[in-house]
Symmetry: C2
Subunit: 119 residues, 2 copies
DNA sequence: TCCATATGTCGACGATAATCGACATATTAT
DNA sequence: ATAATATGTCGATTATCGTCGACATATGGA
């Protein structure tokens, strides 16, 4: 957990992670990320290594490029850890967080067991 | 946000934060925390300063002791930031997190606008 | 094969962070 | 006022981190 939090506690890395969250499973090539943030490829490379090593990113080769995308299992673990910790210990800390999440929800028909729900 | 994540990306500080989350509004004296983690008082003092400076802790004087407790507003901001970011970009990443939170819930009577809900 | 593209690794440097002894400040009791 | 308790601040040391040039590796095309 400390490793994960450490990986996200750096401007560039947090930016990369957030970018890739939005990118979803599709991911993005290392070079394209480097160009987006206007940093040298080797600097980014070490940042990507830190994020991968922490279990927040995955990578796959695609021809000459290496595509990075978020590691959903790892990220889930971090979010669950933080939320559970705070919600178990202090429920009134957690409730408003959930409220603000639910605010953006499209309410579904009750009884549906849809797993790909917006919330 | 980077500052907050950085504050939590250290073994001792994460431990202190988690301890205080469980402690709730009551909080704990600096000295007692130091004894709990078996570290010198001045080392802990700097850690507490980092957490406070990041907006994760509050402090109040109580006689000779200084009582530290979690800053709920600040902590809420961090949790909301992380959850919102991930849920907006990738809903299926968020859903399981919420599910595991709801698993520990005592279901309430519907229609009640109880703010001090367990979830 | 030879070259261009895409990325990773290594090594060095400067910057930032963690630790802790020594000293300073604040509070309360005698 | 003096002492004991509780905490914070300063300064020095060591460790870890971020950056980037130079070199290495991998892939695909001419």
């Amino acid at each position: 957990m400390v490793k994960m939090l450490g990986a996200l506690s750096q401007e560039t890395r947090l930016g990369v992670f957030r970018l890739l969250v939005r990118g979803g499973h599709k991911g993005m090539a290392a070079g394209e990320i480097a160009r987006t943030f206007e940093i040298p490829h080797n600097t980014l490379s070490t940042h990507l290594a830190v994020l991968s090593n922490a279990g927040l990113l995955q990578s796959r080769r695609e021809s000459r490029s290496i595509i990075y995308s978020v590691d959903f299992d790892g990220t889930r673990k971090l979010l669950t850890f933080l939320m559970q910790d705070c919600c178990q210990g202090q429920p009134d800390l957690c409730a408003p967080v959930l409220d603000s999440l639910m605010a953006g929800c499209i309410p579904e028909t009750q009884g549906e067991k849809n797993e790909t729900n917006t919330c």
